[in-house]
Symmetry: C2
Subunit: 215 residues, 2 copies
């Protein structure tokens, strides 16, 4: 699928290309995984929340782990793909790209807090090839940031801590994405900021880390 | 206990003031909690790792949850108390204090990776008054950073994103402590840095976030 074909919007029902009943089960599962973690959530909890018998889940997913895998994978796919679309549309100036990317990620971690927290906490429960697939998606997302940062370093827009190379760019990318992801762990009542303020402040912190001076 | 009375060093056996057998069980538990999470770790796993029968754990802890609580609480207590000792000894210059505090936290999250990850991931499993106690310790640690940051803002050393007030100082403190804690999640093979480089780079990133200019 090319970027132009993208149909994945943030907040679209999960799993991608799922059936209506799969989406209902997945939505209930995300609520429960967010509240108590996937390990402590039973198949019975999920089906009960949908008014179904426990056995009904197995008509639509191979197992609870399979449901978790699809949900976690597809949250990552939505974010990664939408970020790609955004970066392709914002022009080739690294400072503008980095600013847009940070604001986008904040819009997900603060605007879709349940999904963000489930994706970023519960992926550690996945094993084998499922874990590898999600880890690859996470690296891909981080590397999108690293690529922008390295381009900015090469153009002299960014002065990285530790050197103007890929290693330093990756370290900054990981630090900046973590900063954004952390928002999904906040008790937002402690930080009474609007979405726009959150986005602006995190973009400013990211640019500061990259050595950009604004005055 | 006053700071001068402190006997809590990073890496000291846990739980604090525990018996030798409690410490053996706790060390095995930390390894297992780190590898697979506390929820997926059974009492049998812990006692087996110590060459004991499952029932033996209950001679030394009320339950697996009690063991988890003591371990998580005491890791936080060690870090918080040692940070207090450090800050008291480093003089009253906010830039020097902030630099020392970041380097200290990095020395824990990178040097005691298992403990750091267990404390920062598994505390979410605690409930009721135990959770409240650990949350209070985490806030106390964060507020030590916020206090230094606010002092630096008032002296004109730091230019905070969002204003020179306690709210902004707390936001920066949370961002900086999260940045340091994240190191415990790294696959360090991807970041072949010495401890000194890790400390220096994270201190530099923190000062950049605080608007400090070095040249």
């Amino acid at each position: 699928m090319t970027i132009a074909d993208s149909h994945l919007d943030l907040g679209d029902p999960l799993p991608i290309d799922g059936t209506a009943i799969q989406m209902r089960l997945a939505e209930a599962a995300i609520d429960l995984f967010y509240e108590r973690g996937a390990l402590a959530t039973t198949v019975r909890d999920i089906t009960h929340a949908c008014g179904l018998t426990p056995g009904a889940l197995y008509n639509h997913f191979a197992s609870k782990d399979h449901l978790l895998y699809l949900v976690v994978r597809d949250i990552h796919r939505q974010v990664d793909e939408q970020l790609g679309v955004l970066l392709a549309g914002v022009g080739d100036d690294p400072t503008a790209q980095l600013t847009a990317a940070v604001k986008f990620l904040v819009s997900h971690t603060a605007g879709f807090k349940k999904r963000s927290r489930v994706a970023n906490r519960e992926f550690t429960l996945l094993t084998g090839s499922r874990r590898q697939e999600v880890t690859a998606l996470r690296r891909h997302l981080r590397d999108r940031f690293a690529e922008v940062i390295l381009a900015g370093a090469h153009r002299g827009q960014f002065q990285l801590v530790g050197g103007q190379d890929l290693g330093a760019a990756t370290m900054h990318a990981a630090t900046i994405t973590t900063m954004c992801v952390r928002i999904s762990e906040w008790t937002l009542v402690n930080y009474p900021l609007t979405m726009e303020d959150l986005q602006d402040q995190h973009a400013e912190l990211a640019l500061r880390m990259l050595g950009v001076r604004r005055d």
